[in-house]
Symmetry: C2
Subunit: 337 residues, 2 copies
DNA sequence: CCCAGTCATGAAAACATTTGCATTACTATT
DNA sequence: AATAGTAATGCAAATGTTTTCATGACTGGG
């Protein structure tokens, strides 16, 4: 059975009007007489007609899509961000075109191109660190672009996010103020991940803010509970144990806590553990994790608003800083003497 | 500065060829002389031309997008699925149009319509339970549609996933075989969530498979560590405690484990805990969680393959069952006598 | 040097819409 | 009943591509 295509012409014929009227009935309903509109609606339903956005798009009408390119979806933190961004974006009628590049800036560039081929109305990237090709591409096309997650005053494009340096700094001063001098930093690989790098820098500066010069043992760990668990197990097997384990994000901190639980090392009495992010679950961990809250939901929501504004009013957006916040819970305590 | 639009015509003029040749140079490069191709490429680069998929799409050419509609993104389980589906789909050149409906079947219908307006080449939904409107819509349009996550022989559309009834059944027989007779079932709300409902049914049947008639206390809990933690805390405060807490998914099981840790109740000596899903982190939890693995990554990958096949060969796909697998770890043990 | 065959390119129609302008059909005012 | 004004609709051009068909430019064999 050949499927008879249901285009606007078929609808027009069925409703005994011209295609123009059908189009108007969709886009400017007030311009068409209620009775004909009803006739058209009936025809639409009978034929199962569905509007073709592609055909609209080539008229300069917006495509109704926003491109979102993330390093990875399968991480608590980005999942939360994507969710809130998507929810907020939905509300303004847009749909998200999603892609992930696995921390490869080259793939990110390719994906950006692809998004532009799809004529997304706006495009959002994670972090501030991108290939110069990508920046040039975005500058050349005049598609609104937004950087999510990070905040920096001098960002090359409008950004909505938190200052990761500050997040690290908050942890640093907290840990230093508790008297810890021998510290392990468990961080994800810094390559292609400006967030992690900035957090680490902030951490180092924060730890020294009180004038001390603590010993910092840095340890790169892939993003996973399993890897962090193993890394911390090894760390604690070393002759001289750190009194605080500062993790680049909450997932790594969870791994650390599990490792310590297994080793029977008491937290926070024997060792302090901190995360960054305040993911779902950190609050209810046992013991509850001391961390820095990066307001992912707020970032997603505000970013969506900003994006919508950029698209509809065509104006350049202001940078927006959502400050990180130290959340002291049960995994941090003064260094044992 | 007015941005001079870079369409295929502008490129053609700049390269001193006809638009046809430019188009060919993209789509059938072997049909155009290398020297002119080079000239075109130069013009493309100089003008910053980017192909317009919308314009291609109205020629019946594929849009290169696949719609993915999920209940929610911000859950370990779906994040993993989306990631693997997206990765596999990327490889075949498609991009994902993503939307979430928050377990509302009505919103799902609306989103499906929207995806069809965007002329996605295929569309994937989670689970088997959908509004009849949605099924009718999909049947009427001839867009390939696929149901992810669940498997059932008699699914109304091709499906790729696991049999959730079996997953629950595996847990049930495992727990029953350990001699537990007083069991608490901590499950997410069943409304609009056929996965949970089927798991629960399988669980109940599995528990009874040995002929016993165990006492099952069912407890509905929103999907979150916090809620599960609280629910289990209340559960254990009751006069007669269950000896096994069977959770509808791993996140709830994490909450249960945290609650028990807080109460100082030893797992698995005093109480057995099980999950379903085997999410990232369950293996490395302390103690490691006994659960049923739903092969999310495999499902995503195979689903993407199936989808690609449906799109390119236009054929109906076979249902594909990826069996769940019981993973016995450290949180389950014989019931205390 | 002609002819057949191939290679490379161009012209124009087609795709599914939207929209500016023109036209027709009303309604109300005189 | 004529006129002006407005409401409703249709016509046709335009949007950015792809593709079929036609044409022109070579190439090599006789």
């Amino acid at each position: 059975m050949t499927v008879k295509k249901a285009d606007i012409l078929a609808v027009a014929k069925a409703a005994r009007v011209s295609p123009s009227t059908v189009s108007r009935s969709f886009n400017h309903p007030d311009l068409v007489k209620p009775s004909t509109r009803k006739r058209i609606d009936r025809a639409v339903r009978r034929l199962g007609y569905i509007r073709n956005r592609a055909a609209q798009t080539i008229h300069g009408i917006r495509s109704g899509t926003i491109g979102l390119i993330v390093p990875t979806i399968d991480q608590a933190i980005f999942a939360e961000l994507i969710q809130s961004f998507s929810d907020a974006v939905e509300q303004t009628g847009f749909t998200i075109l999603l892609a992930s590049h696995g921390y490869s800036l080259d793939r990110e560039y390719a994906l950006t191109r692809k998004m532009l081929e799809h004529r997304v109305d706006g495009i959002a990237l994670i972090g501030l660190d991108h290939a110069t090709d990508t920046y040039e591409l975005l500058a050349q096309q005049n598609t609104p672009a937004l950087l999510l997650w990070n905040y920096a005053e001098d960002a090359p494009l409008p950004c909505v996010g938190s200052d990761n340096y500050r997040a690290g700094h908050l942890v640093g001063t907290h840990v230093a103020s508790l008297g810890h001098r021998h510290i392990a930093a468990v961080f994800p690989p810094l390559h292609g991940n400006d967030r992690a790098a900035q957090r680490l820098q902030g951490l180092a500066d924060g730890l020294r803010v009180n004038g001390g010069d603590p010993e910092i043992l840095q340890r790169e760990t892939p993003y996973s509970v399993a890897d962090a668990k193993q890394a911390v197990a090894e760390l604690m097997a070393a002759p001289r144990r750190p009194t605080a384990i500062v993790c680049g994000n909450d997932v790594l901190a969870w791994g650390a806590l599990h490792a310590l639980a297994r080793l029977g090392i008491s937290v926070p009495d024997q060792v302090t553990v901190t995360g960054i992010g305040d993911f779902h679950g950190s609050q209810d961990f046992e013991p509850a994790l001391t961390t820095v809250r990066i307001p992912a939901r707020a970032i997603g929501a505000r970013a969506a608003e900003t994006m919508a504004a950029m698209i509809t009013t065509d104006g350049m957006a202001e940078n927006l800083a959502l400050p990180p916040e130290l959340i002291v819970r049960a995994t941090s305590a003064p260094a044992p003497s």
